[in-house]
Symmetry: C2
Subunit: 357 residues, 2 copies
DNA sequence: TTGAAAGCGCTAACAG
DNA sequence: CTGTTAGCGCTTTCAA
C-alpha cells in the first residue's frame, strides 16, 4: 500500500493545521491543548474536534524549545557488576518509576553504564539539559558519579542512601529514597534471637555499598558483643553466599543461625548448609533480605526474609523528583525536597516468616 | 553557595555565544559541532576552544525541530506478567540495546506497559514522532500492540518472532531478531536421545508465545511419534515447571528425560524430581533453555541447557534499526532492513553441557 | 476571551 | 570556505 520513496515523510499535522481547521488562531489551539484555561466552551469544543480529526500530536521538540521543559527524566543505573541481571531489584524499581512518570506524562530515558568510562557521557547528557531531572542508582561508596551529577546541576533523587558524607559543608542535602536497612536487619536478628538462637552469623553484601553497611550496623545493634568471626563478607550472589557459608561453618561450627544480607546469598548459604549436612531450620535457622519472590519462595525451605517494598521505592523516587520539579519550575538544583524537608525518605521493612527460620 | 531564587536557570551557552566568542558565524560553529566538514583547520580549532571554554552543549530540542531526528529510540516492553522480573532476560537485552545505541549517540526511551490500557498511550507516543524508531518486545500471539505500532508508522524492529502471519497481503515484512528456538530445541532433544534416553518429555512455556511454539516444534521435529502425554504446558516459572513435572511423572512414570522450555521451569522441574525421589541425571536427564547463568549454574546439579545470546539479540535489534534509519533518513516505515533483505534475523544457539544431562 | 507577533536555538539552503 | 537568511512548531507576551 505504502509507496517506497525515500522521502516518504508522514506530514504530521501542526498547530497551524488544527487552527485552520477549527477556524481559530494558533494561540487558541495551544491553550486548548494545554488545558483549555480561559477559552470559551464552544471554541474548546471545536478545537478538540479538529485535534481529533487530524490526529494532532504536539511536537515535543518545538514545545521544549520554548518551555524548557522536556517531560522526561533520566534514570541512571551505574552498576558495572552483573548484579543488575542477577536479581530483579532494578527491574522492580524501574517498574515503580515508570508508573509514576507515566502518571505525570513524563518519559523515562534509561542510561546504563558499562564502566566508569561511560560516566563522562552520562555527565554530558545530564548537563546538556535534555531531561528535567535524574533518578540515580549508584551503590558504591567511592563512586565518582554522584559528584559528577552534582556538577551537572540537574534535579536529582538517589536510589539508596548515597555513600558520601551527608553534611558536607555548603552543599545542599541530597534527596534519596531507601529502605530501612538497619531496622530491617535488627528485626531479622531479633527474630532469630527470639527463636532461641544465640550463635547468629551474618553474611554481608559488598562492603562498599551503603545497604551492606547499614544492614551490618543493624546486625551489630543487636549483636553488639558477638564473636567477630561470625561476620563474613559476601557479594549478594548465590555463589558468594555459598562461599561465605562454608567459611562460616569452618570458623564456627557451632553457629545456629545466619542472617544473610539478601535472598540471593541466603539461597547460596542454604545450598552450602544442605551440602554440609546441616538441616534448616532445625540445625541452622536462616533469614534473608529483600523478599524477592522468585528466590525467597522457591528455595527449599522457603526463606524467612525482610521484605522491602522495592517497587514503591521507585515510585517514591519519581514522585519526589516530580514534586520538586513542579515546585521550582525546573530550576537547577539537586534539591527536589527543598525547603528544609528531610532529604532522605526511608521506607519501612517487614519481616516475612516462612520456613527457614 | 547557590542562590535560591525560583528563576535560577543556569543559562546554557548557545551557538550564538560560541560564535561570538570564536569570532565566526553561527553556521560555522554548527558545522564544526556536527563534524567540522568543510571548515578550515584554524577556524575549527578556534571554535573547538570556544565550545570548550563555554561548556557548550547543543540544544537537542532546537536541533530536532529542524532535523526531525531525535537521536532517541523507544524500547517497548509489553509484558503484563511478572516475567520481566522473574528472569534477567529483558535486562540482558536492554544491556545489549543500550550498548549499541550509546555507540551511535542515540538515547533509550523505555516504555513499560502494565496492561493493555497502556497501549493507547504507547501508540500515541510513537505516533507523536518523538523517537526515530522503536524496539518492541511483545511476546503474545494475540497482542494488539504490533498492529497499533504499525499504525504509528515508525521504524520498528521486534524482539522475538512476532506472532501474526508473516506474509499478510500488502504489508511490509516485519523485521525481528530471534534465537533459533526450533533448532535449539532439536539440539536439546537429540542430545537426550544421544544419551540413550527414549521417553523424553517436554515442559513448554505459555502456548501463546512464539518462542514456546517454536521450541515445541523443535521437540516434535525430533520426537515426531512421541506419546502426546509427554508434553505438558508450563509458564516459564519455577512453580509452573514444578507443577508440570509432577503432572508428567503422574502421567508417565517411566519417562527418562525432560526438555524444559527454559531454565526457570527446569529448576522447578528439578525440585519436583528431587522431592519425588528421582535422581538427576541418573533416573531422569534434564535439559533447559536460555543458559541464564544465575539459574543454570546454581541449580543442583547444574543445568545442561541451550544457550541463546541474549545480549547480542538486543544489540542486533538496535543495530538493525539504526542501520535502517540511516538508510532511509528516518522515513516512515517499519522496514529498516528494506530492499528485499531478510526480515527476520535468527541467531544460532549452542548446547551447553553441565551435569543435569 | 481571542489574535498577532516575537522568538526559543538550531540547521540548511543559498550567496558571496 | 564562510556568512546570511529563513524557517522548524510551539508558547507567550501584548493588544485588541
Amino acid at each position: 500500500m505504502r509507496s517506497h520513496e525515500v522521502t516518504e515523510t508522514a506530514p504530521r499535522p501542526t498547530l497551524e493545521a488544527v487552527a485552520a481547521r477549527a477556524g481559530v488562531s494558533r494561540a487558541t489551539v495551544s491553550r486548548v491543548v494545554n488545558g483549555g484555561e480561559g477559552v470559551r466552551e464552544p471554541l474548546v469544543e471545536r478545537v478538540r474536534r479538529a485535534v481529533e480529526e487530524l490526529g494532532y500530536v504536539p511536537n515535543q521538540a518545538a514545545r521544549s524549545l520554548v518551555t524548557r521543559r522536556h517531560d522526561a527524566v533520566a534514570v541512571v543505573i551505574a552498576e558495572p557488576e552483573t548484579r543488575v541481571f542477577a536479581d530483579p531489584f532494578f527491574a522492580l524499581q524501574l517498574r515503580g518509576i515508570s508508573k509514576e512518570l507515566t502518571a505525570h506524562d513524563s518519559q523515562l530515558v534509561l542510561l546504563l553504564t558499562e564502566s566508569r568510562d561511560d560516566y563522562a557521557r552520562v555527565g554530558r547528557y545530564l548537563a546538556g539539559g535534555h531531561v528535567d531531572g535524574a533518578l540515580v542508582f549508584s551503590l558504591h561508596l567511592d563512586d565518582p558519579l554522584p559528584e559528577l551529577i552534582r556538577g551537572a546541576d540537574v534535579p536529582t533523587v538517589f536510589g539508596g542512601r548515597p555513600g558520601w558524607g551527608e553534611g558536607a559543608r555548603g552543599t545542599a542535602p541530597t534527596p534519596y529514597v531507601d529502605s530501612d536497612n538497619r531496622g530491617g536487619a535488627r528485626d531479622a536478628v531479633r527474630h532469630l534471637l527470639g527463636l532461641g538462637r544465640s550463635r547468629i552469623a551474618h553474611i554481608t553484601g559488598p562492603l562498599d555499598q551503603t545497604s551492606t553497611v547499614d544492614r551490618l550496623d543493624g546486625y551489630r545493634d543487636v549483636m553488639a558483643d558477638a564473636d567477630p568471626r561470625l561476620v563474613v563478607e559476601g557479594d549478594f550472589t548465590p555463589a558468594g553466599g555459598e562461599r561465605a557459608m562454608r567459611e562460616l561453618l569452618d570458623r564456627c561450627p557451632d553457629l545456629d543461625a545466619v542472617f544473610a544480607a539478601n535472598d540471593l546469598s541466603a539461597s547460596g548459604a542454604l545450598r552450602a548448609l544442605r551440602t554440609l549436612g546441616r538441616r534448616v531450620p532445625e540445625d541452622v535457622a536462616l533469614v534473608g533480605f529483600d523478599d524477592m519472590l522468585p528466590v525467597a519462595e522457591q528455595t527449599d525451605p522457603p526463606l524467612t526474609t525482610v521484605r522491602q517494598n522495592t517497587e514503591e521505592m521507585g515510585r517514591l523516587m519519581a514522585s519526589l523528583l516530580l514534586r520538586g520539579l513542579d515546585r521550582q519550575g525546573g530550576g537547577g538544583a539537586e534539591e527536589p525536597g527543598a525547603g528544609g524537608a528531610p532529604s532522605g525518605v526511608v521506607l519501612p521493612t517487614t519481616l516475612v516468616r516462612r520456613a527457614s527460620a
